[in-house]
Amino acid sequence: MSKLEIKDLRVQVQTEDGPKEILKGVTLTIKDGETHAIMGPNGSGKSTLAYSIAGHPRYEVTGGTVLLDGEDVLSMTVDERARAGLFLAMQYPVEVPGVSVANFLRTAKTAIDGEAPKLRTWTKDVNAVMERMNLDATFSQRSVNEGFSGGEKKRHEIAQLDLLDPKVAVLDETDSGLDIDALKVVSDGVNRFRERDGKGVLLITHYTRILRYIKPDYVHVFVDGRVADEGGPELADELEANGYEKYLATA
């Protein structure tokens, strides 16, 4: 089972001109096995939602609740949230010089599972995932995100999604900056995750093209820190045809 409930979430950041409210009461629920797409123009608060769920210290929650299977996510530390089953694929993954991908993945898996993975099957699993993500055999020996191309960074994020196997994945503009081949590889990776039992996905994107490869169950339109519209997959088609103008005009 996996259910992510976001209720009336309000988030602010500190700016030079004092605190600024970015999320102005966001409510949405991802039930067992559902994929939700969040679409919206730049600056609408999409990434803020992603980072707030993951617990980034820059974002200050001023109201509302986030529950994962009934547990209060907002009271957990960043690493507790990950161990509870949340995963954030980042738009700009961070370089960690001198720490190999292999070391990083093993350390993360050990932390999530509470015990070290069995060496033989783990190596096999990692190699299989790397191959599926079209990352070559030497990739594991490179430093985390250091010198990676944009596509390699995103494929590495989805490789982690596959190996760490969370309950709910938040994908923050995973499609941005990808060429069509890399987009297909990344989408295949996300779809393999969705095929597993009861996995939730919150797919944040600026463009509709990834929705041709990853079919959402619901689409939410994000404008000015709120959900301005929601609907089925057909809403994405309408956005593709008409853009965000009609929401921006009324916002």
Binding site: A54, G55, H56, P57, T77, V78, D79, R81, A82, R83, F87, L88, M90, P93, V94, E95, V96, P97, G98, V99, N103, F104, T107, A108, A111, I112, S143, V144, Q160, L164
Partner: protein, 388 residues
């Protein structure tokens, strides 16, 4: 050969600079420091335990040697050591070490030798009450290839002058590991002359001691020489680790690359890194880059980092430096923690990576393993104890 004769031979004059005094073996020519001089201002002189007084002593460090074929170790007189023609002492401690050591140990790698294993000199001290003066000469013959490891352990009050002669076309990897007991005092001047088309890589690892102050001075016997100087230090509460580097580009088409990285933790941990580079008029087409990064792990530590570049010719291929003193990168910690890794474990990984990034440049697998193990020991002793 005196400094003046040598400079005449190399057709280069003295460059006036407060950063690097005129070198000489004459102790009296190096005034007793007050602590305000540029080259002494960071050093807590009282903690040198009277080394600057220069009282004679018969104490020695225990020396264990591992010598592959092609290497000999002999004892030579002070005069013989001076006659080998390297740059004399830049400061009083260097001059005192030569004056008081009563001769030098000469490690000789035969010309064209390709050693099948590292030369190891394991030096250990028994007590901080023993004042030890050391004078060491490492001579690596032309076109030879060698790795020399000098490891320091135990307790002592030690002042050494080490000269390194890298023959023309030779490749030397020189590793200094300063893994002293907590009360040890260690001052050392390491003067290196890099031969024509020779390649020197020095690795300096300072992990223990109450006060460690090393000065590494590099110059070139001809064009085409390359010096890479890598350092790593890990200072705990109360420790003073000072690494001073001076690269004198006195020949054209020479290269230098300096990377020192340090971590500090605990009250009054203090590190100093000075990186001086002089590019003389004659040194056209040289390349130099120096970099120092410090990771401050707790409150109450202090890292000084001072790069200096003196350029007397514009005809160079490249020159630059970078210096940073910082705490943990919040974005790195967030990224690791967002994958379920606890905060202490995330910090340990970041420190491990910070050092591993440098250690992997050693390029000698057995050496990298040993150094990684040493750092892991240090992390276990410190970071993990503190955080877990």
């Amino acid at each position: 050969m005196t400094a003046a004769v040598l400079n005449d031979a190399l057709e280069q004059g003295h460059v006036e600079s407060h950063l690097h005094p005129e070198p000489t073996y004459d102790v009296d020519a190096h005034p007793v420091p007050s602590g305000r001089e540029e080259i002494w201002r960071f050093t807590p002189l009282k903690r040198l335990r009277g080394l600057l007084d220069g009282a004679p002593s018969d104490s020695h460090l225990d020396i264990k040697e591992e010598l592959p074929a092609g290497v000999t170790v002999t004892t030579i007189s002070t005069e013989e050591a001076k006659a080998l023609g390297v740059t004399p002492a830049f400061d009083r401690l260097g001059a005192l070490a030569v004056a008081n050591a009563g001769g030098a140990i000469l490690v000789d790698v035969a010309a064209e030798a390709d050693l099948d294993g590292p030369v190891r000199l394991l030096l250990s001290g028994a007590s901080v009450d023993d004042v030890v003066w050391g004078h060491l000469v490492l001579r690596v013959g032309a076109h030879s290839r060698a790795t020399i490891l000098v490891e320091h352990t135990g307790s002592t009050t030690f002042d050494a002058f080490t000269t390194v002669l890298v023959g023309d076309g030779a490749q030397l990897d020189l590793v200094h590991v300063n893994d002293w007991a907590d009360d040890a005092v260690h001052a050392e001047q390491i003067n290196i002359r890099v031969g024509r088309d020779a390649t020197l890589r020095q690795f300096e690892f300072t992990l223990g001691g109450d006060l460690v102050r090393t000065s590494t001075n590099v110059d070139y016997a001809g064009p085409g020489g390359s010096a890479e100087l890598f350092g790593l230090y890990f200072a705990d509460a109360g420790q003073h680790f000072e690494h001073r580097l001076f690269v004198d580009h006195n020949a054209p088409k020479t290269k230098s690359h300096v990377v020192y990285k340090g971590a500090l933790q605990g009250a009054k941990a203090h590190t100093v890194w000075i990186g001086n580079v002089l590019i003389r008029k004659v040194a056209e087409g040289i390349e130099t880059f120096e970099e120092n990064r410090n990771l401050v792990l707790t409150d109450g530590c202090h890292a000084d980092s001072v790069p200096n570049l003196e350029i007397e010719t514009g005809e160079i291929a490249g020159a630059g430096h970078a210096s940073a003193v910082g705490r943990f990168d919040d974005e790195q910690l967030f990224y690791l923690r967002s994958r379920g890794i606890s905060e202490p474990e995330a910090r340990r990984l970041v420190v491990h990576g910070f050092f591993n990034d440098l250690i992997r440049r050693v390029g000698v697998p057995e050496l990298e393993e040993k150094l990684l193990a040493t750092v892991e020991d240090e992390l276990a002793k410190n970071v993990l104890k503190e955080l877990v």
